[in-house]
């Protein structure tokens, strides 16, 4: 058994040093392997803290799995000289940048993507990105550094200040008035009831939940092999649902602050309230998506 393992290892070692191309690919894989422990650590820690890390990891694995399924087709692709040279160039540069990635997360991810791109370019040519857009997209999404933080920064850069908070405070006030409460907006981001006032901060604007819903629906939609139009619909529904469901949450928070005291507010605002809220959203989302799928299949069979 041990001898067999050594034989296999020798075989792969020999094979990996056989030609210039296999040597370059091995170099690229070496870069990937260097970062793998860091990625795994971050995945485990992130999942334990309840982040969306598991979704991006799922996207990466799904993308690689899709490519693996196509391996026979991939082996038949021809590479031209330009692509091969460019691929080697990218692998070489990623090796040079390797030390920088240990300290900074986003450099690590970009170098990782660069090594992947170099391997793909030099082995299968640039046509591979056009022919397999979904696996490519999934791998890029899976390795994207801090998607929520980047989303927040971009949103704040390109939208007027406090747009989402103002919208949420306004809709919360309208909602409270609709159920007969004497709610007032004392400033653009605060709701006042006779017993107290709440201010809508960035954390309560529903943006984080919308991002998580968008990524989750994207990954799930692509995993169950829905058509692109339907995946887009699922993403849009996910975002809309997260934002709409945030309005009752704001109303509930305002009511608990005004009438039920600080304890109730902290409960609904803290981790328990957040989990109940997320659970409710995912349940509603599940039934909406199932309804859409069922309707679509039945109308197709007619």
């Amino acid at each position: 058994m041990k001898g067999k393992t050594i034989n296999t290892a020798e075989f792969w070692l020999h094979k990996s040093l056989e030609s210039l191309h296999s040597r370059m690919v091995t170099l690229g894989l070496f870069v990937v392997a260097c970062y793998l422990p860091l990625w795994l650590t971050k995945l485990v820690v992130g999942t334990l803290h309840g982040g969306g890390a598991i979704f991006t990891a799922a996207a990466l694995i799904l993308g690689l799995h899709r490519l693996w399924q196509q391996r026979q087709e991939l082996a038949g692709l021809e590479v031209n000289e330009g692509d091969r040279t460019l691929g080697y160039f990218l692998i070489g540069i990623s090796l040079l940048l390797l030390p920088l990635g240990f300290s900074t997360l986003w450099i690590q991810r970009v170098v990782w993507l660069q090594a992947f791109a170099g391997i793909a370019l030099s082995s299968w040519g640039a046509t591979v990105f056009g022919r397999y857009p979904i696996p490519t997209f999934l791998i890029v999404l899976g390795l994207f550094p801090e998607p929520t933080a980047v989303g927040v920064t971009l949103w704040q850069t390109f939208t007027p200040p406090q747009m989402l908070e103002r919208l949420m405070a306004w809709s919360g006030t309208v909602g409270l008035k609709a159920i007969g409460q004497p709610a007032m907006q004392i400033n653009p981001v605060s709701i006042a009831l006779p017993g107290g006032a709440v201010e809508v901060n960035w954390g309560c604007s529903g943006f984080d939940m919308a991002t998580v819903m968008a990524i989750a629906s994207l990954v799930v939609g692509l995993a169950i092999r829905e058509a692109i139009v339907k995946v887009t619909l699922m993403v849009v529904i996910g975002i809309a649902l997260a934002l709409i469901a945030n309005i009752p949450r704001i109303m509930l928070l305002a009511l608990s602050e005004a009438y039920w005291g600080k304890g109730a507010f902290d409960f609904w605002h803290g981790p328990w309230g957040g989990q109940i809220f997320a659970g409710t959203i995912f349940t509603i989302y599940y039934y909406v998506i199932m309804a859409i799928r069922k309707k679509h299949t039945s109308s197709r069979s007619h």
Partner: protein, 202 residues
């Protein structure tokens, strides 16, 4: 008799077109190189703000480089050696453009951090002065009350938030436009290089 004057310009036209391509292409490349040299000197490589400014200009003007490279490749398709060299050069240049993006992103993030911490430091300083004044009410002037100070402190933090947002937006917008420019030109050069190499093989 009649066929000769008709065929002569037809035979000469591709040659003339190639000549024009080469001239315009070389002018573009040469002009770009000189412009960049002027912008580059005197180099302050260690200064992040200088790097961001230089790379922004570099990205803005690189369209000239792309056009020059395209025209030169189009003009030198007859000479196999030249077109291959040029295509390889374009390919590497495109790769370098893409990698330069990393530098732009890194510098943009560090400049943003710098701007935010500057504003924070200023805010902290003024808030400390207000707090000192609050702790020593006897030193206050006749017509300044503690409530005035409280209100001033709130206004200050509001203004600091707005300033932070504005600084962040400016820095990030500059960075994002630079990155878009560099990625577009880099991909263009790579496409040009690939195309040049594939026509050579044909």
């Amino acid at each position: 008799m009649t066929s000769i004057p008709a065929s002569m310009p037809g035979a000469a036209r591709p040659e003339r077109t190639k000549g024009i391509c080469q001239i315009v292409g070389l002018v573009c490349l040469f002009g770009f190189a000189l412009n960049m040299l002027v912008l580059f000197l005197p180099p302050q490589i260690g200064d992040a703000a200088w790097r961001v400014g230089f790379l922004q200009q570099f990205g803005d003007r690189s369209l000239v480089l792309l056009l020059g490279a395209a025209l030169t490749i189009a003009g030198s398709q007859d000479s196999r050696r030249w077109s291959r060299q040029l295509s390889l050069f374009c390919l590497f240049l495109g790769g370098i453009y893409l990698i330069t993006c990393l530098l732009v992103v890194k510098d943009t993030l560090s400049l943003r951090q710098l701007a935010l911490s500057n504003i924070n430091a200023q805010e902290t300083q003024v808030q400390n002065e207000i707090r000192n004044a609050q702790s020593d009410p006897s030193a206050l002037g006749e017509n300044i009350t503690l409530e005035d100070l409280q209100r001033a402190s709130q206004t200050l933090s509001g203004q600091a938030t707005v300033a932070k947002q504005a600084a962040q937006t400016t820095v990030l917008k500059t960075g994002i436009t630079s990155v878009i420019n560099l990625v577009a030109i880099g991909l263009g050069l790579i496409g040009l290089g690939r195309y040049g190499m594939s026509t050579r093989q044909r």
